[in-house]
């Protein structure tokens, strides 16, 4: 529908991330402490101020953790999306395999593994530090 290239892959990952993050974030928002919300409301704050100072400050560490996790998953998925035509390194891998250039395919695979491992350590570090 949108033509070849990374734009279609971007839309795919965007839609999947919206679903993933909104569901898990909704569960997290329901688990916040109501005492802080009541305290802010007792100072006479308006609706948006209550959300900004009471709800958001409690939810942000978990949002950072979820985002880091989802970024890691998206990196893995983006290599696969390229195989079905959405561009990126998956398309290069597919081309190399189609042309039986197995040495290039091996190099691309090792590169994908290295990038995904780096991303996973980075996201694990972020989650341990901030969430």
């Amino acid at each position: 529908m949108f033509g070849f290239g990374p734009f279609a892959g971007f839309l795919t990952l965007t839609i999947s991330t919206i679903g993933f993050l909104s569901k898990l974030l909704a569960d997290d928002i329901e688990e916040i402490e109501p005492a802080q919300v009541e305290a802010i409301r007792a100072t006479g704050a308006g609706y948006w101020q209550v959300i900004d100072f009471a709800v958001v400050s409690q939810v942000v560490p978990r949002l950072v953790g979820l985002t880091a996790y989802k970024v890691d998953i998206n990196f893995r998925e983006s290599s696969v999306i390229g195989i079905v035509g959405a561009g990126g390194i998956g398309a290069t891998l597919n081309t190399a395999l189609d042309r039986y250039e197995f040495d290039s395919a091996a190099a691309i695979l090792l590169l994908i593994i290295a990038i995904v491992m780096t991303c996973e350590y980075a996201s694990g570090w972020i989650r341990k530090r901030f969430a």
Partner: protein
């Protein structure tokens, strides 16, 4: 300091953040926006915007051609469906055997050697998780030829990493007092594992195995797109011949299969936990 004072030392004002903190947060936001704009430019360098504007018409056209689904095609789909379920089940079983061994080697409280075997086991688990099942499938179809065998091995390779990671984390989180009690009776290392560790990880193990089987059912339907057999192969055939009503039938059958497997998983998890 967030509090600002007059020259006599009285407090005259308060801000939520200090100047330096506010500058740091602004710099981070600036970096994020700059990164987003840069990535957008790189990503849409080759995008043909006329296609993007035309997309709703294309979607409506496609939907018109896909409905109504061709129900009589479902009769020729039972064999590929059976292939898909077999692929997922056999792949998961092979992966469970190998991943259990790797998990015991990778957990820091049960590994026999921390300099050689544990890093090796961890490396195998991480490498198998980093590469998606579809890519393993592509490689194996190039090596073994199209068919269900390539699919089974691709599913097994990916599941080894998933099951191995969750299992070794579960092994590291067990209660040590039970292990010490068994050791105090004079048990050998194999008996310690069998009577002290395995009963503690059994619920986690069953949950992980069934969870991965469920995910593998979904992945094996997609693996057929790269030639590994099952429903995906029928899907690819229908897509390539532009037989859209058949595509709809296949998608509905995939949906039904996934719903049934999720129901089975939920029942098993409820029974165990």
């Amino acid at each position: 300091m967030p509090v600002s004072r007059s020259s006599e030392g009285r407090v005259v004002g308060w801000q939520p953040k200090t100047g330096q903190q506010a500058l740091f947060e602004w710099a981070i936001w600036f970096g994020i926006v700059a990164l987003t704009v840069f990535c957008w430019r790189v990503m849409t360098a080759g995008t043909i915007w006329a296609f993007v504007e035309d997309a709703p018409h294309q979607a409506a056209d496609l939907l018109g051609r896909m409905l109504p689904p061709r129900w009589d095609y479902a009769n020729s789909l039972w064999a590929p469906l059976w292939d898909t379920i077999n692929m997922a089940t056999l792949g998961t079983m092979i992966a469970i055997v190998i991943a259990t061994l790797l998990a015991f080697l990778a957990a820091s409280n049960t590994t026999p050697s921390t300099i050689l075997l544990q890093p090796l086991a961890l490396l195998i688990i991480v490498a198998s998780r980093s590469v998606n099942a579809l890519i393993w499938g592509l490689l194996l179809v190039a090596v073994l030829g199209p068919g269900v065998l390539a699919g089974i091995i691709a599913i097994a390779l990916r599941s080894i990493g998933f099951i191995g990671k969750l299992l070794y984390e579960a092994i590291e989180e067990i209660d040590e007092t039970q292990v010490e009690a068994i050791r105090a009776t004079g048990a050998s290392p194999a008996q310690i594992i069998a009577y002290g560790i395995v009963p503690q990880i059994m619920p986690a193990f069953a949950t992980i195995a069934v969870f991965r089987w469920d995910i593998n059912i979904r992945e094996s339907t997609v693996l057929g797109l790269v030639g590994a057999g099952g429903l995906g192969l029928a899907l690819e055939a229908s897509l390539n011949t532009l037989a859209w009503p058949r595509v709809t039938t296949i998608l509905l059958i995939i949906l039904a299969t996934v719903v049934v497997s999720e129901w089975v998983t939920a029942r098993v998890r409820r029974t165990i936990i």
